[in-house]
Amino acid sequence: MDAEMRELSYAQAIQEAMAIAMEADERVLLMGEDIGVYGGAFQVTGDLVERFGVDRVMDTPISELGGAGVAVGAAMTGLRPIFEFQFSDFATLALEQIVNQAAKMRFMLGGEVSVPVVMRFPAGSGTGAAAQHSQSLEAWLGHVPGLKVIQPATPYDAKGMLLAAIADPDPVMIFEHKLLYKMKGPVPEGHYTVPIGKADVRREGSDLTVVATSIMVHKSLEAAQALQAEGIDIEVIDLRTVRPMDKRTIIESVKKTSRLLCVYEAVKTLGVGAEVSAMIAESEAFDFLDAPIVRLGGAEIPIPYNPDLERATVPQVPDIVAAARDLVRGAR
């Protein structure tokens, strides 16, 4: 580990990125519900209000639509707001401002404005928060040209991609899996960026390409580890960015392994896995496929409260192991 690398949690990494950006640029400010003295619902902003004051760590009323709109307007006129949704589910209250305003403003005005806003969405299941506090809505926003949508999976990427998002002139939506907030990992000190729109090969392998997002990257790596004992060699790609998608990295990997498995937590149909599959089906990698493409996604139900049901709703390591094994052994 480099000298300046430390172990930080995913939440700490995000907080550090925000602090660095605020230190460097007066225009950066945080907005959201209970992000001040409370520290944010998931303690991501923590004590930043003590360092930067209430004018730059702004508690908003419980006004997702209005708050998102204020962030959009501020971004159009010279500030660099980072707007925290308390839960990603509440994007549904603010879709007007995200989809109709932030995403399209530059286009509608013929390039006369930019909207450098960052919106952060604590997402995903696994906390027993049930159907309205556990969703993974990244594909919803990923469908909208004008937005950039990212899902960092590690503390390192959480910091680097957030810093890239803050520097980005366009609206960037960050989906942060709530179960990742406490995960620790090496994070360099100081400023660095991880590019938006670039996937990362987390593990090289020859038998199968797994394209995973967010927390599923870690589950897929675990599955790959387990399958190594069976002589199955899996490549795991961390998609990292939903829009714009890094097609090249996936295409090259599938050309090498000839098999593709997509693993994501969101509801399986009409999601990120559908896009990756279709993209490969349309690409030169199609001719290299030795097996059908398989998607492993969330069940077609709202996230249930009961913990066993909740776990059963989204792909788990044994599911990934079984799907990967079937694909490589030709059971598919």
């Binding site: 209005g66 998102a68 204020v70 010279g78 707001p81 005005l109 006369e112």
Partner: protein
């Protein structure tokens, strides 16, 4: 902007606000712009009827005094957010009609390079952050712009125009509340023309006056005759001063009327001909303003005719400019979705 009141010495101080506050040249310019708005919209309507412009448009004919009264006290770098009925706001804030026509014709010389059209007309350089296709969509954005003004200490004031229909959207409530708790330099201007499409305010809105809602946000709520330039300007002036000195927002309800249908698809089944006739013949904002200007000796009939003629010519030339302008290249379809990095 210190404006010299030329009439102040000569005239009694009970003159209406505008005639104390603006000089004769400024007042004649207001008349010219009111005509420019009306003739622009008549011209746009005509082009639409002749199939030269596609899509739809929402005309503000009958509401010109409101747009001018609000924008006149604004400084050039103050900002506005506008609505689907936003041509008047755009012109009042200083836009050039030829670039507006070019936008309506979908040309690259238009304000939005042909990507926005009537419903997204904007003039960022002159502080117009854009019309909006979403009812109440611009209200939170104006509050955000006011937040920028306060934080960046630019001294700017932001005006948010919206209609009576918009005041029943949640965004209205959220935005006014935040503007008030944070004391932001923003003025909310509800142009109450009596209807949101076909639905009258009596049928849609629980309070008698939209300004009554200001009390819920601890801000002044002011009702003005939106067809009287001087009344609107007086209220706007006070609200803008209040905003600029850091005292926070105001809600102005400008009561007015639109002569035309809601959009090009309106069959006017929800109001009577008599009602429309009454507003047109007894309360027309331009007629009212001209009568005052004449009464106070600021312009005479030949002066008015000269203004009309100049506007007619400007509109004709603007339409010619739009027609002659180049259309966007299909190869540029992907432009402006994301910020182009050099």
């Amino acid at each position: 902007m210190a404006r010299k009141a030329v009439l102040e010495k000569a005239a009694p101080t009970n003159l209406p606000f505008a005639y104390r506050h603006y000089d004769a040249g400024q007042l004649r310019e207001v008349l010219r712009k009111m005509y420019l708005i009306r003739r622009f919209e008549e011209g746009a309507e005509d082009c639409y009827m002749r199939g030269l412009i596609h899509g739809t448009m929402h005309l503000s004919i009958g509401q010109e005094a409101s747009a001018m009264g609000i924008c006149m006290p604004l400084a050039e770098d103050d900002q506005i957010t506008s609505t689907h009925r936003g041509h008047g706001h755009c012109i009042a804030k200083g836009a050039e009609v030829r670039k507006m026509f070019a936008e309506f014709f979908g040309k690259t010389t238009g304000y939005c390079k042909g990507r926005g059209g009537s419903m997204h007309i904007a003039d960022v350089a002159k502080g117009n952050l854009g019309a909006n296709g979403i009812v109440a969509g611009g209200i939170p954005i104006a509050v955000g712009a006011a937040l920028s003004a306060k934080r960046l200490k630019t001294g700017k004031v932001v005006v948010s125009f919206f209609g009576d229909g918009a005041n029943n959207e949640g965004a209205f409530h959220e935005a006014l509340n935040m503007a008030s708790i944070w004391k932001l330099p923003v003025v909310f201007v509800c142009e109450n023309n009596g209807y949101g499409m076909s639905t009258s305010t009596a049928r849609s809105t629980a309070v008698r006056n939209i300004a009554d809602r200001a009390a819920a946000y601890s801000m002044p709520g002011v009702i003005v005759n939106g067809n009287s330039f001087t009344e609107v300007a007086e209220a706007a002036h006070a609200a803008i001063e209040r905003a600029r000195t850091g005292e926070g927002p105001t809600l102005i309800e400008s009561k007015t009327y639109r002569y035309r249908g809601h959009s090009k698809s309106d069959r006017n089944r929800y109001r009577s001909k008599e009602e429309i006739e009454d507003w047109m013949s007894n309360r027309d904002p331009i007629t009212l303003f001209e009568a005052e200007l004449k009464e106070f000796g600021i312009i005479d009939d030949s002066g008015i005719e000269a203004v009309r003629e100049a506007v007619r010519q400007e509109i004709t030339e603007a339409i010619e400019f739009a027609k002659a302008s180049p259309a966007p290249d299909i190869g540029d379809l992907q432009n402006y979705v994301y910020t182009e990095l050099a």
